[in-house]
Symmetry: C2
Subunit: 194 residues, 2 copies
């Protein structure tokens, strides 16, 4: 039985919702915004800044990112946030029975054998519709936001993990929520941890 | 309810076994070697040749492949095999209720909405062990055969589909059979077609 479920997700795929519902059904702790608050406490940075940078840095390209805003040890603020996130995620995992969304948790916890890594993705029309509704965007805005967010998540993941985001081999389960539906995704993950 | 399940699989992941067991449990037709026999009949080529080329051509690189052995219409033997496979897979799909392993069936049937595409992958040690047992190979031989076969499948898939093999977005479900186990994979796919 796996005690920790990590969920990586495309923007608009409902991965966060699936994770939260799954945690409720299993009676597991759910970590998403909590991690932000803890990183803020540990680093002294604002929650808003961490929310923006924690999954989406480096924002432009890795080369320029490498030389900007580094401290005396050669670390950037983004590296500092990542290190704080990593320590917090490791502590959370020690407590067991939880669902963790995003933040390279799959990679951070790769040496544990009680973790099930899940990737939730979906079809463009369904993801776009969800973003339009949730964030009150036009179709064009939703599409731009979707592509931009996924691109940033993908770069962030590659930078910290040296793995490629969304490639099936990094996850025990990859589910297309547009084809399967959210309820079926929850059901499958519940089944898979047994 | 999906009526057609396509299974793409890494060599040694047990994807073929999973597909066959799944078909038995669902009372679905199972297509693998049958397709080879039909392609042989249609093209006049030997079954042995088709087995070798049907999923594994082009073998070296796409550029050299493009200029060798083409007929008057500019088609290679491999293109001819692919076209025959495509027609047979489309006919099979028309009959419904079946599991089809490999042969770009996911891509060939992409315009149907009664198809569930699955990718089965696994961890190297488990896949290697299976290949050693099934094909009576040493560890070194099994590892070479595994990498070589997957490379060929990947090139073949890219050539015919212009998609990347094993990238989660091409499939409704990607399952790691080493982590989940074969029985769980079968259970999850059975659940997912509902």
């Amino acid at each position: 039985m796996k005690k920790i479920i990590t969920i990586s997700r495309e923007f608009g795929s409902g991965g966060r919702f699936i994770g939260e519902e799954l945690a409720k059904k299993l009676g597991f702790a759910f970590y998403d915004k909590d991690i932000i608050a803890q990183v803020a406490k540990e680093t002294g940075l604002s929650e808003k800044y961490i929310e923006k940078r924690g999954e989406y840095a480096p924002t432009k390209n890795i080369l320029s990112y490498s030389f900007i805003g580094r401290d005396a040890q050669g670390s950037s603020v983004d590296d500092m946030i990542y290190r704080a996130q990593r320590n917090i995620i490791r502590d959370i995992a020690e407590k067991g029975n939880c669902v963790i969304v995003g933040r390279c948790a799959d990679y951070i916890l790769r040496n544990r054998d009680d973790v099930l890594n899940v990737f939730i993705h979906g079809n463009e029309p369904e993801k776009c519709k969800r973003i339009m509704e949730l964030y009150e965007k036009t179709e064009k805005e939703a599409l731009t936001l979707m592509k931009d967010t996924d691109k940033k998540r993908s770069i962030n993941y590659a930078y910290h993990t040296e793995q490629k985001w969304g490639v099936s081999r990094n996850y025990a389960l990859c589910l297309n929520s547009s084809i399967l539906g959210y309820e079926m995704c929850i059901k499958i993950i519940k089944e898979a941890i047994k």
